[in-house]
């Protein structure tokens, strides 16, 4: 089974207080902030590795990021991916979900064969949850979101459990298919020092726009229909009164106010 896993390097949430916004381009300034693999993408990779253990085949990770993301891709290889492809080009900068999906799908079309494309259901940073369905649309294949279990059938079909409001559904689908996974699907494996050393020998290919047959108006900032208008400062409509004193005094004052308002 040939499985592609989309891995997105995202700014480590521990350092989010250092994120800034470029006032002119209204894009995020993330200089110097370390990246991690988006946590749900790591679960997508774990699901892929488990399927490979059962069915055989190959697991390839696919990312679109600046070259600084290479260390993050090494982590995917250490977890057990066979090889890694990084889509990296200055022309890709500023791509929104639609342009990103288009670039990713164009890269996937270059591959001779694939059965499954796995993604995380949501990323920590943008969090639009658009990319998996949009990759599927550009490839003209089915997709399912909110996936919590993947089962292979003797017939070659997959049985997929997908979460819906207040429950779940099970769907039968034939490959190739794009699936985006939720946190309930698995716990990603730990990596050992040995895994890290082994990953050093694995290959990371870098593809630029010249390696892909892209239509230029559809990539980068220009190919991105969504734009930020502005950031809203939460309105200071609230009274913001801070009580003074030690815990007994504060508790007493609050109880007194609640009493006067009729709550006790």
């Amino acid at each position: 089974m040939q499985i592609l896993v989309c891995l997105k390097p995202v700014p480590d949430p521990k350092h989010w207080s250092r994120l800034g916004l470029d006032p002119k381009t209204k894009t995020l300034i993330r200089d110097g902030i370390p990246n991690i693999i988006n946590p749900l993408d790591k679960k997508a990779l774990e699901a892929a590795l488990q399927l490979r253990e059962k069915e055989g085949g190959e697991v390839i990770t696919l990312s679109m990021a600046p070259p600084s993301a290479l260390s993050v891709l090494r982590e995917g290889l250490a977890m057990g991916a066979d090889r890694s492809i990084l889509l990296s080009d200055a022309a890709f900068a500023g791509s929104d979900a639609l342009a990103t999906s288009y670039i990713m799908a164009t890269a996937i079309k270059k591959m001779a064969h694939y059965d499954l494309i796995l993604c995380g259901d949501q990323t920590l940073d943008g969090g639009t949850s658009l990319v998996s369905a949009q990759i599927a649309e550009f490839l003209g294949i089915p997709n399912l979101m909110h996936v919590s279990a993947i089962e292979t059938q003797g017939s070659g079909a997959f049985h997929i459990r997908s979460q819906i409001e207040h429950g779940s559904m099970v769907v039968e689908v034939m490959p190739p298919v794009v699936l985006s996974v939720v946190k309930e699907i698995n716990e990603p494996r730990y990596i050992t020092l040995m895994d890290i050393l082994k990953a050093e020998k694995k290959e990371i290919e870098i593809w630029s726009s010249r390696d892909l047959s892209l239509d230029e108006p559809w990539v980068g900032l220009k190919g991105s229909p969504s734009q930020m208008v502005d950031l809203l400062i939460p309105e200071g409509k609230r009274k913001m009164e801070i009580l003074k004193g030690d815990p007994p005094e504060m508790a007493g004052t609050l109880a007194d106010r609640l009493h006067r308002l009729g709550y006790c």
Binding site: S101, A136, I160, Q163, L231, R238, R257
Partner: protein, 329 residues
């Protein structure tokens, strides 16, 4: 002649309309009025006369009905094909969907097919004087709110969180029904639904509660979560929380308040050990009085509350509960 410029996807399963599709119809009518626009609901499925009547009664000017056996179960490719054809024929300015399992999936695929922008998981919508749809979304871990738009492509699309807009009032519908010719073959349905399991939705009273006590990551343990529940029972309130207590199994999934949980409108909200990330705060903006208890004087919630107590909840809550009980006694 189709007149509507704002279209709302009226999600339904087995003839049961999702409330978010009706909430969005209400909001769309409100946005459309100053612009002189009309609003259509778009229904897809099988045997839709009941849902269609309801949408008319909630004020839809037009209701498109795609009724076909192959639309019986939702499948993204068959639904996207029908809606794509309809949108290309009539060119609506705005197309809205609920940010549900179905709406998020369908919206993403349609936006790619139409090569237009979609703002996902919105918590508010505005229509500018230039008739651009401005969508408010929490971003970057919920620390900020951003307004997003797609000024150059049509339709302008958004998926909106359930519960952020009120249900419109029901009345005598004067809108018209537009049945659609659906051209689908079995090959358009690219997966088969084998089973659907849905829990009965338990009403835990959060949405209707007058008093809500919510806990956050700062509570730290299941044992200390009992203090949150204790305060709630002293004030006869309902208990809610942010994402971490649900992840830690101190609280249940359906107790989560905020962008990916419930939207509440209590008279009194007390947040304990909650830092005040936008993901949570958008769910409580309808509260009359917001009280925050947190150890960290820098916590953003202190700028978004009416009354703040800086201190250790483990000390404050037992004292507070006792004082409340003393008043009652």
């Amino acid at each position: 002649m189709v007149q509507s410029k704002i279209w709302v996807f009226a999600e339904q399963r087995n003839g049961q309309l999702a409330e978010v599709g009706i909430e969005l119809l209400g909001k769309a009518l409100e946005l459309a009025r100053p612009a002189g626009w009309k609003v259509a609901s778009v229904l897809a499925g099988q045997s839709l006369s009941g849902p269609c009547e309801r949408l008319l009664s909630f004020g839809a000017d037009e209701v498109f009905v795609a009724d076909h056996p192959l639309l019986c179960s939702y499948c993204s490719q068959s639904y996207a094909k029908v809606l794509d054809n309809l949108i290309r024929e009539h060119h609506p300015e705005v197309f809205l969907l609920g940010a549900t399992a179905m709406g998020s999936d369908l919206g993403a695929r349609l936006a790619a097919r139409l090569r237009t922008g979609l703002s996902a998981h919105c918590i508010d919508l505005e229509l500018s004087a230039e008739k651009k749809l401005l969508s408010v979304v929490p971003g970057w871990g919920g620390n900020v709110l951003a307004r997003i738009y797609s000024p150059f492509t049509k339709p302008q699309m958004a998926t909106v969180m359930p519960g952020v807009f009120d249900m419109p009032r029901e009345g005598n519908g004067r809108g018209r029904v537009i049945p659609l010719d659906v051209h689908l073959t079995p090959a358009d349905v690219t997966y088969q639904v084998l089973e659907i399991n849905r829990r009965a939705v338990k009403e835990n009273g959060l949405e209707k509660a007058e008093v809500v006590i919510a806990g956050g990551a700062g509570i730290g343990s299941k044992v200390d979560w009992q203090l949150v529940e204790g305060l709630s029972s002293a004030l006869k309130g309902a208990v809610g929380g942010t994402r971490p207590p649900v992840d830690e199994n101190w609280a249940k999934e359906d107790q989560m308040i905020g962008q990916s949980g419930r939207t509440i409108h209590p008279k009194l909200y007390i947040g304990v050990g909650i830092s005040g990330q936008m993901h949570h705060m958008v769910g409580i903006k309808g509260a009359d009085l917001i009280v925050a208890i947190n150890q960290d004087p820098q916590a953003p919630i202190f700028e978004l509350c009416d009354l703040g107590l800086v201190g250790d909840f483990k000390e404050i809550l037992p004292l507070l509960i006792r004082a409340i009980q003393d008043y009652k006694a």
